[in-house]
């Protein structure tokens, strides 16, 4: 973990030999009259990273609570390696990293990781290699309350990984971490994924999920409204961003065909448009001095927002 060059993707695995570690079929749940999940299907294969995205209230938390065994199903099936996560024995195949977990202030790092190993049915000695893998050996005898946020998150990951789970469920795992810590985190997970661990991650950092996820599932209103690789989802969106150096003022630019938004920075103007060809034709006519012109796809964030709004 000393190198700043981290790979955040697992090496390609051969398709067809994949084992399904998580299968959700037709999951339904309602809170009173409010429908939280309305027939959700979801699958995570071994070694695969699936990002679960969607606006607030989309049903992500309900679905995750169902998957980790906290919530009784009202309909549908949830299986981790074929077992019901409501059973403690099934949860031996499960590791969970939750957003900003607070630890009991009296416990030390080693005690937490050893405890996680024993709770998972492993000997106490299983903690040593994981502490080393996450560079926690030197912190092992320190109280967890004395650690930084990033260090605490590594402790939580160590507790989740010590049992070598088939499925890791990550809830906003990098919230509050700096960029380098985030890359370290995903690099470590890429190594585990290469060994077969499946990962389901919910995050608000959509572009980050585009960088690490093999597949993205977008929830909205309790339903799956989009699913595919990050590139496939982006390609669904007709919007493009036209970037250029131009003398035209903002009022004129906003009046151009299909312009949805405008921003400026580094001497460039960025126009998000739903009609890129028409915009380019007019732009080239109206500003003969136009330079630095390029056209980009919208990002995954725009695609996810678009799916959520359309649903």
């Amino acid at each position: 973990m000393t190198s700043p060059h981290y790979s955040t993707r697992a090496p390609e695995a051969s398709v067809g030999t994949m084992k399904t570690v998580l299968e959700v079929r037709g999951a339904r749940h309602r809170y009173g009259d409010k429908v939280a999940l309305d027939g959700v299907d979801l699958r995570v294969d071994e070694g695969e990273c699936v990002a679960l995205l969607g606006p607030n209230g989309a049903g992500k938390t309900t679905l995750v609570n169902m998957i980790v065994g906290l919530l009784a199903r009202q309909g549908g099936e949830v299986a981790i390696l074929g077992g019901d996560p409501r059973n403690a024995a099934t949860r031996r195949a499960l590791g969970v990293v939750q957003q900003s977990l607070g630890f009991p202030s009296t416990l030390k790092v080693r005690e937490l990781v050893v405890g996680a190993a024993v709770r998972g049915g492993l000997p106490r000695t299983a903690a040593g290699p994981v502490l080393a893998e996450l560079e926690l050996t030197e912190l092992a005898d320190r109280r967890v309350s004395k650690l930084s946020g990033g260090q605490k998150q590594r402790v939580q990951l160590a507790m989740a990984l010590v049992t070598n789970p088939a499925l890791l469920v990550l809830d906003e795992p990098t919230a509050g971490l700096d960029a380098l810590s985030r890359r370290r985190f995903w690099h470590l997970l890429a190594q585990r994924r290469a060994q077969g661990t499946g990962v389901l991650v919910t995050t608000h950092l959509i572009e980050e999920s585009a960088a690490v996820a093999d597949r993205v599932v977008v929830l909205s209103g309790g339903r799956v409204v989009g699913e595919g690789t990050p590139d496939e989802l982006v390609a669904l969106l007709p919007d493009r961003t036209v970037i250029a150096t131009t003398k035209l003022d903002d009022v004129r630019l906003r009046a151009l065909p299909g312009v949805l938004s405008l921003s400026r920075g580094d001497g460039l103007v960025r126009l998000r448009t739903s009609a890129p060809e028409a915009l380019l034709r007019v732009l080239l006519v109206e500003d003969p001095t136009l330079s630095d012109l390029r056209v980009e796809h919208a990002g995954l964030e725009e695609a996810v927002i678009s799916l959520g709004v359309a649903a």
Binding site: R91, G102, F103, V118
Partner: protein, 238 residues
């Protein structure tokens, strides 16, 4: 398998006691101080006083500690971490209740020592051992009640709620002052309170008296508070 997990859970709980000893003040020193003060006022020669104050001291930790600790764990997200782990939740909760034992034994031994030092100890070692045994066993329904509150309330609210349960019940049951010297109203209300029945069983170990009827009341309370704790757990926010 579950025995190993229970050992780890209990060790975590006990580390909390050893590494944050300030809790010992409220759990042991305060009730022992009360006992010494009241014994000097009302006469320590009364053997029932060690039993009634012992009941108060044990209930102080049995009712408060598991309930407040579970409320703290919920606030931290630590209970959620346990619930999604491979640990059966019953093992976690059993460890929280078992962690009361060092406090409870500590408070009873300290009270016995205080009685001895002030010359008011009339109980034999066997009687004291029996007193400790029945109070530890009889504290279970109160620990379950504490858990029921801890699954729903925040840690500060849990402290307030559990104190609001413990203190009036202690006074009305004659745990601080003998019912014989209190207004008749107290004697009328006391038999309706579980604390009274536990104190009666405890007193019987030192001064004799019936226990079966009181034990049945506590057994019934155990069933009720156990069911209450289970319902409260099921409705606790994940």
């Amino acid at each position: 398998m579950n025995a190993r997990i229970f050992a780890v859970e209990l060790a975590d709980e006990l580390r909390g006691i050893v590494r944050e000893p300030t809790a010992l003040f409220f759990s042991i020193i305060m009730p022992v101080g009360f006992f010494t003060l009241f014994a000097s006022i009302f006469g320590g020669g009364n053997p029932g006083m060690l039993a009634t104050f012992g009941t108060f001291g044990v209930l102080g930790v049995a009712l408060m500690n598991p309930g407040v600790r579970i409320a703290q764990d919920r606030e931290l997200g630590w209970l959620r971490a346990k619930r999604v782990s491979a640990v059966p939740i019953g093992v976690t909760l059993a460890a929280k209740v078992a962690a009361v034992l060092p406090y409870a034994i500590g408070v009873l031994l300290a009270m016995t020592a205080a009685a001895g030092l002030t010359g008011s100890l009339t109980a034999s070692p066997v009687q004291v051992a029996r007193l400790i045994a029945v109070l530890l066993l009889g504290a279970l329904p109160f620990a379950l009640l504490g858990l029921a509150v801890g699954f729903q309330a925040g840690s500060n609210a849990a402290v307030a709620i559990l104190n609001a349960i413990l203190m009036p019940m202690s006074v009305l049951s004659g745990l601080w002052m003998p019912l014989a010297i209190l207004p008749a109203f107290f004697g009328t209300v006391a038999p309706f309170l579980p604390t009274y029945h536990l104190a009666a069983i405890a007193t019987a170990q030192l001064a004799g008296g019936p226990v079966v009827g009181h034990a049945l009341v506590l057994l019934g309370m155990t069933v009720v508070t156990g069911a209450l704790a289970a319902v409260s757990y099921r409705h606790a926010r994940p």
